[in-house]
Subunit: 276 residues, 4 copies
């Protein structure tokens, strides 16, 4: 028995999202990275090769995806974002320099938010409806700020497996939340950071982790919120993995593949709601 009703009696919703950090991911890890081209080259793979490999997959399976794009990425790799838009995918907000939100530095949080908005508008004419913070960071002001900037939805909390609506401090309605979990994040399973001696897993292992999570959410009627990165799932072996898990999900019946905006709009319209 499902916990949540989805449009057209779907059993569950699948949301394929891509955090398009490019080089900015590495600034967050190492402040001196801008002078280390080999470190940056890990992120540069994204706009150079990875993004097009991801677009190939989504096109082959005819699935609309949601790309959360830092302002620095759209400024430095505008053509890549234009390619994303040209194929009809959603473009959302993902900070400007991928700076992790720090509750002690509210000015920086606002700066990142507003620079990112400005860059998306200026470079590709996008006013984003969805916001995802870098590395799932947040402050006690984030949800209010997301609301104030007019976003329809946020995707950065881990306290549910179905969408819900945030309440603001004054008790009024805030943005819709599309929660995620690390278990469906390719960086948690496959980002290699040399200083941390990450364990490199097989595709079989990661496929199994993802299949188990999908199968459980399919049974519970939940939101399957994948977080991908062009610099990870656009690499050779991992791109094959992405095809494999998407193919598996495609074969199941009554799965709704949608962008974040489509899901949030269905929720806002009362077409996606708790079963009881």
């Amino acid at each position: 028995m499902v916990d949540f009703n989805w449009p057209d009696n779907a059993r569950c919703a699948v949301m394929l999202t891509c955090d398009f950090d490019a080089e900015s991911l590495w600034y967050s890890e190492d402040a001196s990275a801008h002078r280390k081209p080999s470190i940056l080259s890990q992120g540069a793979y994204g706009p150079k090769r990875g993004i097009y490999k991801l677009l190939d997959v989504f096109r082959d399976f005819e699935i609309p995806a949601s790309f959360y794009v830092p302002g620095s990425t759209v400024e430095n790799h505008t053509a890549a974002i234009e390619a994303v838009l040209k194929e009809g995918h959603e473009v959302g907000h993902h900070g400007h320099m991928h700076v992790w939100i720090d509750p002690e530095d509210p000015a920086k949080e606002i700066e990142e938010m507003d620079q990112g908005l400005a860059a998306l508008k200026r470079c590709v004419g996008v006013v984003p409806k969805g916001y995802r913070a870098p590395a799932a960071t947040s402050s006690d002001r984030t949800i209010q700020l997301v609301h104030d900037r007019g976003f329809l939805y946020n995707s950065g909390m881990l306290d549910d497996y179905v969408p819900y609506r945030h309440k603001l401090e004054d008790g009024t309605d805030g943005p819709i939340e599309l929660p995620f979990h690390w278990q469906l994040d390719d960086s948690a399973l496959s980002l290699y950071i040399i200083q941390e001696q990450s364990t490199i897993l097989t595709n079989d292992h990661i496929f199994q982790v993802w299949k188990e999570e999908f199968d459980a959410l399919y049974e519970w009627g939940g939101l399957v919120n994948f977080t991908l990165h062009p610099q990870i799932s656009g690499r050779p072996a991992r791109n094959m993995l992405l095809r494999r898990i998407v193919s598996y999900m495609r074969e199941q019946q009554d799965v709704w593949f949608a962008t974040g905006t489509q899901i949030a709009e269905a929720f806002a319209a009362g077409m996606a709601h708790p079963a009881k």
Copy 2:
């Protein structure tokens, strides 16, 4: 040949315990977590969703469980603890704010102990018989304190695989110990902490680890002391895993499923004792 005799000639005892840390687990990891709602949301999943998924499992298999609950959890999520009690499970003590015990700060240890006791009494009327310290921490005063506060048993040592009775410094009897090991702890196998690049394992892997430990303890006649967390084993894939391992254990013959209190009382009554 077994090392230990259990009631009704059981081959071994299985104790399903849940450390219901909720948000407090994350305060222990990051002192600024109270201003980071996305960090806290990992713990908030427990009282919001996870606990009910665990209760579903225990109800379906008709197994009584033991919940060790910090005072802050019972204060902030009283309804969840009431649901636990309503289904007949045991509620024990697990600190107040999940502060790790520090031998250099005895006042804090006592404060955590007494605030936790007061909260359990005030919010749900429980006087707990079992104590488990946060993250298996301890000081050289802990066992005496557990004794002084009148607990029947402690569950936080790793020096045995069957129950035993602590000796106090003056040579007299202290509380009964129900020892555990990380191998049967879902946080050791499945808690994802982004800063530590934890390896995300498959259900097959974790099932196998748990099955191997159960099988060995079944052969030795030991205590199978599982430590679960609503925010971990209440998540989609891991909840399926819990069903799978409980189902496996249920299929074995002569397994005694009991709460910590039931086991400690059997030990105290001489109905659970070393074989020789």
Copy 3:
């Protein structure tokens, strides 16, 4: 084609060693551990339960083993070492308080060496022939010191897969080396340290790692030098694993199971030597 000739035309030699650190392993990890009984209880499992489970395995398979014992272990758990000796196993030296050797502190290195020697002599009358440093640490004085104290062999280097003889700084012969590698160390594969979020592996995984190393050394004619710990391989699941790998090696033809002293003596006598 093998690289090394072993007595009786054996294909390879297997040396089962146990570092009997007990509580002292945890002092090395955390200087305040002496006031944290739950931390220490991980090590206390060794002399209380683990050692007897290891002895059961060696007895069942009729294999002589080598136990490297810190002075503090023999002082605090004399009965356990007596049990080891009673079954005919070798007892060697493993420091006194398991202090990691620091090249900057030569006085401490000598103190650990001499206190350990004194404790072994005083408590169980043993003058050890083999030395293994805690955690494979060393200084530029260690080999000379091992020589000066009259040891037949050292087991702490990783630069070969067959025995060899150390040269001292003055060019004369030093002790024989029985090299090891982490791949055959149960602590590298199965010691859980909560602060480090170690990955808990399955028995199948560890068995496979060990089988692969054994198979390769069997083909090359090398020394299979297992490092076990009572607090690890004496635990339930891991003890089954130990039985499984020993059983596998037992089934192979022409494997020489021997203690460190037996191997070093064969080397000294010219009965174990490079093939060319």
Copy 4:
């Protein structure tokens, strides 16, 4: 459909490279390692045993390999490098003391470069055509320096899966890049560092990771750039793994096994180039 054209219509190119760090790898990890012979012995395995085991594999499969050798290795282990050269393999540059490049210390970067060049020339008469920085480190001056010293190619970037040519700051052509990725690096999968509690993987696991990457690059027509270390892939089990993956690749059709120099020269000559 392939992205890149290789000589003789090969589907992909395979480049087996060895970073011959020997003891110098451990100086990078621990500045006091020169006084810790057991730490150094991990690296000493390379020139003593590992290198000959690697040469055995390359000889058996008749594959030319590329060895990137720090100046300190060729000074301290000249015979090992002579053995490499005698079998017709390429010898390239890998720093002098394996010092990680630091953008804040340009003098050190130049010193490491020039000392390494001098040592290769003096000890074995080699003027290297390829450069690989220690641990894939770099500064914003590295590519210019590699160009100024007359190298044909660099192998240290991760932003592509096929060769490309660097552009210098003045817009002119720089060295050819032969990019790599950690997924094909034996140190990322199998270097054990005790302080970091690395997870020890099975050969099956690592074989699968490597096979998946090879298969994907075979399909895409990419460069399969393996990074091996004599102290890792020259050890017993891992040497069997190397034979297994090389054997697998050998069985595939139309695979071009070549040294870095051969691949870079084909690129320079226009015989290896993007398909469109």
